[in-house]
Amino acid sequence: MRKNLRVLVALLTCVLLFVVGCGGSKDAATKPEASDGTKQLIMALDPDYETFDPGLAYEVYALLVLHPVYDTLMQFEDNLDAPIDGIAESHEVSKDGLTYTFKLHKGVKFASGNPLSSQDVKWSVERSINLKGNGAFLTDGIKSIETPDPDTVVFNLKEQDASFLTKLTYNAFGVIDSKLAMENGATNAPDASTSDKAKLWFDTHSAGSGPYVIESYTPKVEVVLARNKNYWGEAPYYDKVVLKAISDPGTQLMMLEKGDIDIAFNLGPEHVKQIQDKPGIEIKKAQSMTLTFLLMNRDPKIGGPIANPDVQKAIRLALDYQGMQTIAGEGSITPVAPFQVGFLGTLPPRDPKTAQDIEKAKELMKKAGYEKGFKTTLEVATLAVEGMDLPTLAQKIQNDLLQIGIETEIKTSDIMVALDPYRKGTQALSLWYWGPDYPDPNTQLAFLPGNPVGLRANWTAAMNPKLVELGKKAAVEVDKAARVKNLEDIQKIMDEDSAFDVLLQHARHYATRDNIKGTDYIDLYKINLKNVSAK
């Protein structure tokens, strides 16, 4: 009897495990309450927001919420090429590129009913500067802000900055209703980082002039945006926008199929395949601005043979980019240098079919004196980038490098452990990812020798002075054509000589119900909620 019982228990356990494994997780999703006729958009995403204080928020999804709530002087519409006027009616740049003058729309009111004036703009930006939040570096170049009259704001810069207008699209420059905010503990004083008490208030309230206001926020559950009845521009289609925090892509997918949500935002390439032919669903693909790249240290004490520029070039030629794009999913591409396709002046991506050249790579290895190859370590953090598992990609690289005699041992570690040696520049060969800090090629100049990311590979300014000089020019060049030329030259040089090999610019996969319009991807906002409507 005992024996039989044990067999039974063992079998039952197997069955149970199987059922649990296959059952999938049912989320307690509710149907949108459209009974009273309010038009409601429900979007599911895996958010990272920490706060909705425009002076502090600097997370990936911060602008998804804050862009429709706080107006900015400049904004993006369809692409990231050039920002257009937001709450500014027009803007003017002085000849020396140091003074930016903005004329505001007249008669704009905040959601509270208070009128919006240039004083509010000045107050908001000063508050961001003094709060010293994660996004405060965007304000670094500002020398002073003047408000000659209620409709005019003048920014004086310390030095020329080709990306200044782009920086203005960030929530750090979002215009806050200063009267309302001050009533709730906000301040723009120099000691705002300690004396400002409005952070918590901003999480569940808003003080903007955008088409929506924050109605409620329950961390890890949802954010609800409601229509701003005092909005000065064209009213948005939806009365309410609900952003549900659902981290599991499988659950998002299921809810979308059932019609519980309108947008499922965090799907991997493999999930999209499952719903390819499902009626009522539209699959959306877009170019993400996230890069995955290989760092090759230039310091021989750290990198050993890896530090040799010829070896680094050989590695660039030995990798099978087509295979990597297969792993990363449809729509991923391989830029020539650390400049994303979609930015001003970026060269067309590599042709994955011809980018691999084993013969030439072997010649370079021979030239470098490593004909017989060598052994090294490939360091990788255990996490997924845009739905792609990094250690899986590392195994593909390991396989490719064997063809030119480089034997790698993969060393995996948690991201919190791996970040430290990466930032200190003590990794010989490692696999990393990068998202731009702001949507302008200037943010990518960090990869140049002597700059922060370049130095993580110990690629010092002395190693390629020409590149350094071009980078300095591109950062401040206000003339568009000259800037494009500069950026193109940088990429051409980096194709020949670089401590980095850009492997992938990822694709972003998401899906919507097919009656939803205006959900095109734009990296800064993810989706511009102002524009979403239904058929």
Binding site: K3, C14, G323, I327, D389, T392, Q395, Q398, K411
Partner: protein
């Protein structure tokens, strides 16, 4: 003899069959795998089980069947190594504590209890993560959390045995402590420890798989079952990637537990019955 035992004990025989099968597979693995366990084929990734790939292929087109077979080696070695090392450490430690007795015994046993007081898997995770993921570090972590079990059993056996007449005899003949301990007490005390070690073998394999599932085993592309199940979780739509290594863990753990349980039944006088 073996046949008679197997005839009378259903679970024991299943355990023996399953385990010997895995041992044969582990020994012969390179000869019987249809593909190299490392060979990638991106054109044929995520292939469902078929006559070409019995267990399908994974996210970079490797043959899951070959990887599961090769993985048996690592699991068996990890299980064996943990048990052997932990029992050696535990036997020496517990033996010394029991033999010396008194204050030294108190202190030594409190130290071992401190180790036992930590939740095992969490302590192992902490150690493995702190030392960095590799096969040796994981084994070290497992030995560290495992040895106190054996130390306790060994100590109690030594305390019981050191009062025996033959120990007294050896003492009166003027034998050294070293000789008494290793020649008289140790051989008469190891029995229960060895049985306990056999019982633990399945658990050690399970713990090892658990740690490698969490990314704390050898680095990829080593075909560890736990890591392969983790890969299956990442690619949940393709059930075969995680299911087959999972079944391998299940059969090996259940098989060794069947053997261990039957052995315990046989050796425990209160549960004794015919094997």
């Amino acid at each position: 003899m073996l046949l008679r035992i197997m005839k009378n004990n259903f679970l024991f025989s299943i355990g023996i069959i399953v385990c010997s099968l895995w041992i044969v597979i582990a020994l012969m693995a390179p000869l019987i795998t249809p593909y190299s366990y490392l060979a990638q084929d991106l054109a044929h990734r995520f292939q469902a089980p078929s006559s070409l790939h019995w267990f399908g292929t994974d996210s970079i087109g490797r043959d899951v069947f070959s990887r599961v077979l090769m993985g048996s080696r690592i699991s068996l070695i990890a299980g064996l190594a943990t048990i052997i090392l932990a029992s050696i450490v535990g036997m020496i430690y517990g033996g010394i504590a029991g033999y010396i007795g008194g204050l030294a015994d108190e202190i030594m046993m409190r130290i071992s209890e401190m180790v036992m007081a930590f939740p095992g898997i969490i302590l192992a995770m902490t150690i493995a993560a702190a030392l960095g993921p590799s096969l040796y570090n994981t084994l070290l972590a497992m030995v560290i959390i495992w040895w106190p079990n054996y130390a306790r059993v060994m100590r109690s056996m030594v305390i019981a045995n050191k009062e025996n007449e033959y120990v007294e005899a050896a003492k009166s003949l003027g034998a050294s402590h070293f000789r008494i301990f290793f020649n008289e007490i140790l051989p008469n005390s190891v029995g229960p420890v060895l049985v306990l070690a056999t019982l633990d073998f399945g658990n050690a394999i399970l713990l090892f798989s658990g740690l490698s599932f969490l990314g704390l085993g050898s680095p990829p592309p080593t075909p560890e079952w736990g890591a392969m199940v983790a890969d299956g979780v990442l690619n949940f739509n393709y059930w075969w990637i995680g299911t087959f290594p999972g079944l391998a863990i299940l059969t090996m753990a259940v098989g060794t537990n069947f053997i261990g349980d039957s052995l315990r039944d046989f050796l425990d006088p209160r549960l004794r019955k015919e094997l």
